[in-house]
Symmetry: C2
Subunit: 389 residues, 2 copies
């Protein structure tokens, strides 16, 4: 089938705060062809990626992303890989490109799956899928007491693993200790506890090292993003001085970056977001690579269940990759994007839906109320106008 | 002084072709404060970066770049580093950010230099500057004959080093051989010959290896960008099987990426563009790092002489970094951006001007004719409109 249209939609909550909560806005991609529509979500700054999609070309290696997708013939997974390569080549010098293309690539898988009546996991070469242990992914409380309450609530809801992140954590050692102790106390001793510090120590090994003691005492499952994605030698240094496994990789915007992190950072877990790295195909390539190393693949997801499905797919067929990031603090926008949601089964585990495409249905009526009306003009010519939903 | 305004200007040639010639459009940044204006050029997709500059925030780590620059107090180099850190932190999850901020950071140095009546090289801590050997940087001819003519012309113009790149090179081994032989023949045996293949072999060691013989025979000074920037192990593999030094790094959009390339790729030359990596301060950090390793720092520049000055500054005080990329095929737009140009001295070498700031004066009247009129609206509110020059 021919890709007849690619539409990007900028959705936003009425108010966006300074919380590091990525579910406050969204950029959805819809690709249409053969009488079907496929959907995907970019983990991207919506306006920046819309501009990247429609911008005039700057030269032969700086084309707008739209150029390499519209009008393409897509009849098999190979065609999606071909489109991905073309985008990477023709738009390679525009830095934003992978963020923009990720959601479009996901939508291509969804479209192709609907067209062929195949679930995406099969098209990726998996025969079956394995359930994952979801960890409740949430921000630290503003006080240790609040962190304790959040931890308790997670246990009561049935989670066997919980991750706290961001907030003020990482800045004051005494406060950090209180939050970690509160989290562990709230969870009890059997629940897995992950800690995500959102690159707070930038490139500073010493700051990170001073927290190792308290993380080890609290039996933390992993320490996530102690440093910026590219701080390889600092990661490696930290990994060599602790038994707490390190996790990172959400910032990887191509497969080589992720493989480099696996090769050079001493990671225990590589965390990949299909909505950032260039789509499901790229994420799957990283999962395959991790499987040949002593590193576990985990999804990164902090937005809608459409994004959750697309980040679960690349490793759903690997039995020994056992965890799944599961967002529990979604703003209504992110929850409302889909009719269906990936819920915990009776074992407290999650599974991807066994339906054609991504297996998630987008709730068009519901997202209409979050839609932003964007126009971009150059020299009186309209380059972009929010399309009809 | 306070940063009172930051303005971005999208300039374009009337027609932009598929040649990989980055001088066909430009994004200029002008920062104003204390009665002065500073100028810088981003090596970026103009519209994408304008959107990145004005976009509504998505969350606490996805602010528009403008947010961290406007209203800042800038009275010393330390203040510029502080602003850079703030941008990296507050806009870290928007991939386009370093491309957008690079030109603004350069403009901040220019502004501060004018304010303090100091050339930027002094503010960077260099006592004096050393002239560099420019290599004439140009695209391969469409035929071997044309490559030969270009080579001959470069020699006649007085160049002691010449680089050919892109075009069709890297695709057909027989054609490649003809082009390299034509280049060497046109240059004679004493002129340095560099070859830039623009990541044509992506991640394919075999394709690259099959060219080593002809590159060695032509006594090539370096082979540039055989692979994508992040293909570390492939770079390393190639470096171990040839005596031709490898060069790369223009795609580095932060200092850690560049340091990683130095540490893991087996490079002989690290090529940094101040307009990509986050500005002059970031590029200088890489030059300092290269100086502690057995790697030479070289600028990457394929656009205006404003960009050339800003990419020369980070290493102008290092005597043993001897080469300078010098664009010789500029479109009129890129040439017209400045009144002054960095010309070859009587030794055939180039030096940065010893004047306050970048030492280059922007030709406002001249660039007016290339200015694109952009408007971006969201929900009826104007986010960006091309400012007055």
């Amino acid at each position: 089938m021919e890709i007849e249209a690619v539409d990007l939609f900028y959705l936003s909550m009425p108010e966006v705060t300074d919380e590091v909560d990525g579910s406050q806005d969204a950029l959805l991609a819809r690709v249409s062809g053969g009488g079907f529509s496929g959907w995907g979500e970019c983990e991207a700054s919506p306006l920046t990626s819309i501009a990247n999609f429609v911008c005039p070309k700057s030269h032969g290696a700086a084309h707008p992303v739209s150029q390499s997708v519209l009008g393409q013939e897509v009849n098999s997974p190979r065609d999606i890989y071909r489109v991905s390569n073309e985008v990477r080549e023709k738009s390679q010098t525009i830095l934003q490109t992978p963020h923009t293309f990720s959601g479009i690539e996901i939508a291509l898988w969804d479209l192709l799956g609907k067209h062929l009546e195949e679930p995406v996991y099969r098209m990726l070469g998996f025969e079956k899928t394995y359930p994952k242990i979801p960890y409740a992914s949430q921000l630290f409380g503003t006080t240790p007491e609040e962190t304790f309450e959040k931890a308790k609530l997670s246990i009561e809801t049935g989670y066997r693993a919980v991750k706290f992140g961001w907030g003020e954590f990482g800045i004051d050692l005494t406060e950090d200790q209180k939050h970690i102790e509160a989290a562990r106390e709230g969870l009890g001793k059997d629940c897995k506890l992950m800690v995500d510090v959102g690159s707070v120590w930038k490139d500073d090994l010493k700051e990170a090292s001073s927290r190792l003691d308290l993380l080890e005492k609290a039996d933390v499952q992993w320490l996530e993003e102690p440093f910026f994605t590219d701080s390889f030698s600092t990661y490696k240094g930290l990994s060599q001085s602790t038994k707490v496994p390190l996790a990172g990789g959400e910032g990887c915007h191509n497969t080589s970056m992720a493989k480099n992190m696996i090769d050079y950072c001493g990671l225990g877990f590589i965390q990949i977001d299909s909505g950032i790295i260039g789509g499901i195909g790229s994420a799957k390539e990283v999962a395959d690579y991790a499987a040949t190393r002593d590193v576990q693949f985990v999804n990164h997801t902090f937005t809608s269940h459409l994004a959750l499905a697309s980040s679960l797919l690349p490793y759903c067929g690997y039995e020994n990759f056992i965890f799944c990031e599961y967002p529990v603090q979604l703003k209504s926008l992110a929850w409302d994007i889909t009719y269906d949601h990936i819920k915990l089964n009776s074992e407290g585990e999650v599974e991807i839906p066994d339906k054609p495409g991504l297996g998630m249905e987008v709730d068009v009526e519901s997202i209409r109320s979050y839609l932003c009306d964007v126009t971009i003009d150059i020299d009186g010519k309209e380059l972009y106008k929010t399309p009809s939903l």
